[in-house]
Point group: C2
Chain length 146, copies 2
């Protein structure tokens, strides 16, 4: 069951400049940064609020580490902007299988590693009214390395 | 001060079909619907979670009521997808003036009426790394008509 907006993924050309925009304009601070080589991104998570399911909602700022990554190709085509949205669930495996069973294409056979040790998968935007949609199960409390 | 992700605004061609997609796929239910003639949209709000500032986070599904509305023109150019993101604040007037003072273009001289009796304004996406960004102050509790 999806119980929160976990994050909004925003693609940018220059992570440092974009982080500085969000800090200077809104006062949002960086909660976590990492490089995810599998996804081909360098990213910063800005925590905006906590949520009623015990989780939190973030902005995830994404700079591609290589042009042939999914985010790199998307940026070349679209320019900067919202790349995907993510819903939080306690059970990304069960939920993604249930959603696959409804005829929505799930992009990974098995969930992969996302931000802060989470487990993630994506749903095909053409099956989701144009929205690239991620499902995410956060790492158990205390296990995330940030 | 911006204290929550208030909503993600998603533009769609057919509101009823898109509402049904979110219900059938994820179990999200409609919390509120309205027509905003000033914005030229028919919309449904799906409440996803409550937030630590006493508010909530929604998906806002938007169907244009006329082709020359902002959302209608955006849809014709981009197709369905994420149209804007919105941050919640207790003081949209003060925050938008402070942000204007930092050189970010604010699209309205004064906040206008948004979903559920809220007061809203928008920031120019070209000043926000490609993201059309809304600021929203919810109506006082009990005053929203839904």
């Amino acid at each position: 069951m999806l119980t929160r907006i976990d994050h909004i993924g925003i693609a940018c050309f220059d992570l440092d400049k974009t982080v500085e925009f969000y800090r200077a304009t809104y006062g949002f601070e960086v909660f976590h940064t990492e490089v995810n080589e599998e996804q081909g991104v360098r990213e910063a998570m800005l925590k905006i609020n906590e949520t009623s399911d015990g989780g939190a909602s973030y902005l995830q700022l994404l700079e591609p580490t290589r042009e042939d990554s999914a985010v790199g190709k998307w940026l070349a085509k679209n320019g900067e902007g919202v790349h995907h949205i993510a819903f939080g669930t306690a059970d990304v495996d069960g939920d993604s299988e249930a959603i696959r069973g409804k005829g929505v294409r799930v992009l990974y056979d098995e969930p992969r590693t996302g931000s802060m040790g989470s487990r993630i998968t994506f749903l095909h935007p053409k099956d989701c009214h144009g929205v690239l949609t991620e499902l995410v199960t956060a790492a158990p409390a205390g296990s995330a390395d940030h």
